[in-house]
């Protein structure tokens, strides 16, 4: 079998089979990862535009004339629902996870390739339902709290139905990854030699499998309640609206760990490579991922401190929430220690990784305010919370994803992007992002509630600054993604197998990889982080 295509190029997963049907019916995890990436970013920009429309409305006090309060409410609902269910939850696992997991463990594909393709199409089905739902836009907030979500106009059934369908995609992807990581590791790739991205992906996949069904049944009950008028959540029919919140947050808290753990994994891959030094404290970082996943199942009611739960419950959930902060802090300390006496290379992925450290310190410490009961009474449902979760979700998960896309771009496309353009985009994103959300922390300190169409005039200057930042932020993302898309399609600079001198398995094969990933199944004899000069008496097995 020749290794060259008809045009004389070396065969790889991109050019080996051509034509649209070869993509539609593909079973190749790499192609599925690419398809997810393209689809996900379409929704990222859609939801991003909704955000910019909202920020335009909020730029000045008083109605802008562009939209009614109802439309504003629909915008924040759709922004949240699309970002969460259609972008960040599939997020890194569906895109980079699909592409990289088999490569990093030395396998040819995931355990169940057909299931993988099915996951993608279930995602597409859910996405189409969500698009149809836009015709009768929901205005409940992405959290769909009852009783309002039972009473309000149309649209709720379609949107929650879409989320229900998307949940299956998430479950099946998680299931696939758990089995893949257990069963398909190359000879010699022991658990303790796995890249930290794999540990993170594993913990994430476990959460996907265990938490998602609960929100599935919750949304299912909401749909039945709206369509058949039974009384599970509606107090007028003998139901309990707080039951909805419990079932909702039982999933929606672990879901934030689905969003962030893979991002932590990406940072743990970038920093050692761009410091040419082993990750400091490999075991600690690996087990921290598992600890976060586990503890994360027991903190859900910290979203409900003021919903009428008992003081004892509140105390319990507050304390466990503090517990989940510790492994996160441990990770950050280990990353920074990795840089100590490294040989630091400040390319775009590393810039994103270093900025992640700042952003996540802010994200994590502002979480402490919210975990502290006495203070949460003040901050719950204010702009402080909005800023906190944008620091974790956008500053953390999305920037982690962008960092990873830049890092592995040469591997995925075989080409190098323009560093200058990428760095300009990075500066726009970093400055714009902080400028958007720091004023929102201050607004929260002043007591401004969230989900407000309009606000008292004394808050205007902070909102104005936030809007300027948001537009810069959006411009930065557009530039970053356009840069990558343009290079993928039209770029000329070849990347080579291993431009960053990484020891990880995916970099030991072609860029882009061949269809089966490796010419010969790799036999692993050392761990992923064996950089630098060995020290007497210390070794990792």
């Amino acid at each position: 079998m020749s290794t060259a295509t008809a045009t004389g190029e070396k065969k790889n997963y991109l050019n080996e089979h051509t034509g649209i049907w070869s993509w539609i019916y593909t079973l190749d995890h790499k192609r599925i990862g690419i398809m997810y990436t393209v689809t996900l970013f379409m929704f990222f920009f859609t939801a991003g535009i909704f955000a910019l429309l909202m920020r335009y409305e909020l730029m000045h006090a008083g109605p802008s004339g562009l939209m009614t309060p109802d439309q504003y409410n629909q915008l924040f609902t759709l922004h949240g629902a699309i970002m969460v269910f259609l972008f960040i939850v599939p997020g890194i696992p569906a895109t980079l996870g699909n592409f990289l997991i088999p490569l990093m463990i030395g396998a040819k594909d995931v355990a169940f390739p057909r299931l993988n393709l099915l996951s993608y199409y279930i995602y597409v089905a859910g996405a189409i339902m969500a698009l149809v739902a836009l015709s009768s836009p929901v205005d409940t907030g992405w959290t769909f709290y009852t009783p309002y979500s039972i009473q309000t106009g149309q649209g709720v059934v379609l949107m929650t139905g879409a989320a229900f369908v998307l949940g299956f995609s998430s479950i099946l992807t998680g299931l696939n990854f758990v089995v893949t990581i257990h069963k398909l590791r190359a000879p010699g790739m022991t658990w303790m030699r796995l890249p930290l991205f794999i540990w993170a992906a594993y913990a994430t996949a476990a959460i996907q499998v265990l938490a998602t069904p609960v929100v599935g049944i919750n949304l299912f009950l909401l749909i039945i309640e709206r369509t058949m008028g039974i009384g599970i959540f509606d107090p007028k029919l003998g139901g309990d609206p707080v039951l909805f919140q419990h079932l909702f947050w039982f999933y929606s808290h672990p879901v934030v760990y689905i969003m962030i753990l893979p991002a932590f994994g990406i940072i743990a891959e970038i920093i050692p490579v761009f410091s040419q030094k082993p990750i400091f404290g490999y075991k600690a970082v690996a087990f921290a991922s598992l600890a976060i996943a586990l503890i994360g199942f027991f903190v859900w009611a910290h979203h409900m401190f003021l919903s009428g739960i008992s003081d004892t419950s509140a105390a319990f959930f507050s304390i466990i929430t503090f517990a989940v902060a510790i492994p996160t802090a441990v990770k950050v300390f280990n990353w920074v220690s990795t840089m100590y006496r490294g040989s630091i290379r400040l390319d775009t992925p590393m810039l994103y990784a270093i900025s992640f450290i700042f952003i996540f310190m802010v994200a994590g410490t502002t979480g402490i305010y919210l975990a502290t009961l006495g203070v949460d009474i003040f901050y719950h449902d204010t702009y402080f919370v909005v800023a906190h979760f944008h620091y974790t979700m956008q500053g953390g998960a999305v920037i982690g994803m962008i960092a990873g896309l830049h890092f592995w771009f040469p591997k995925m496309s075989g080409k190098m992007y323009s560093e200058t353009t990428a760095k300009i985009a990075f500066i726009l994103i970093f400055v714009g992002f902080n400028m958007t959300f720091v004023p929102q922390f201050v607004l929260g300190m002043h007591g401004m509630p969230r989900r407000y169409f309009d606000y008292p005039p004394e808050f205007e200057s902070l909102h104005f600054a936030s809007t300027i930042g948001a537009f810069a932020n959006g411009l930065g993302y557009a530039l970053a993604i356009l840069n990558l898309a343009y290079t993928a399609l039209f770029g000329k600079t070849k990347a080579g197998r291993n431009p960053y001198n990484s020891l990880s398995l995916e970099w030991q094969t072609d860029s882009p990889p061949i269809h089966d990933n490796f010419e010969v199944t790799p036999i692993v004899t050392d761990w992923t982080y064996g950089y630098g000069e060995p020290i007497k008496g210390q070794s990792h097995h």
Binding site: H17, W21, S22, Y25, L27, P102, A107, K108, D109, A111, F112, P113, R114, L115, I171, L175, N176, V178, V179, H182, K183, L184, V209, L210, A211, T212, P213, V214, G216, I217, N218, F220, L221, I224, M228, G229, I230, G231, I232, K236, L237, G238, G239, D240, L243, H246, L247, F250, D516
Partner: protein, 218 residues
Amino acid sequence: MSHHAEVTDPQGPPHVHHMDSTTAYQAAKFGMWLFLATEILLFGGLFCAFALFRWTYLEEFHHASKHLNVWMGGTNTIVLIISSYFAAMAVDAAQHGDNKKVVRNLTVTIICACGFLVIKYFEYSSKYHHGLFPLNPEFNSPEFNKAYQSFFALYYCMTGLHALHVIIGMCLLGWVISLARKNRFSGRYYTPVEVGALYWHLVDLIWIYLFPLLYLVG
């Protein structure tokens, strides 16, 4: 586009290009166990809702449960247990390469499942005639006892979702039967039978929890 799974040995495992057959078998079983975990969590949410409402409305649930026919529910329980037995026997037959026995046993399983659904149909239609049905306007009116409404709402959700899983299981086992009729299974390859039976056992297990909770509370 190359075939994903080529069958070279008519009674052996299909050749999958990215893993050997032993790994494929282990992966399939592991995958099914994980899927069963998700099903348990799905029903778990419903069980939680039921527990909450039962605690709040203990006496009304007591009385409402009396409207359910314990004999029909009990018979259904026996029917499902028998169906699971035959599914387990089918796995054993497949391991011994007795494809005809696989077909016979799984057919009994499916017949039992049909029996289950028939009895369910009778139960539901009797409720319908008594007006104990969410779409019935009298049932939905504010005068109707709220606790009764909650009980029946949960009753229909739980048994309805379960019945849906029975149907899914029947389709799955039907597919396994079609493979067995082509003499597909042997001691070297019986994964679909094992994995299908596992799913069926879960469907049975969920009913074994549903039955006492809904029917025997009274």
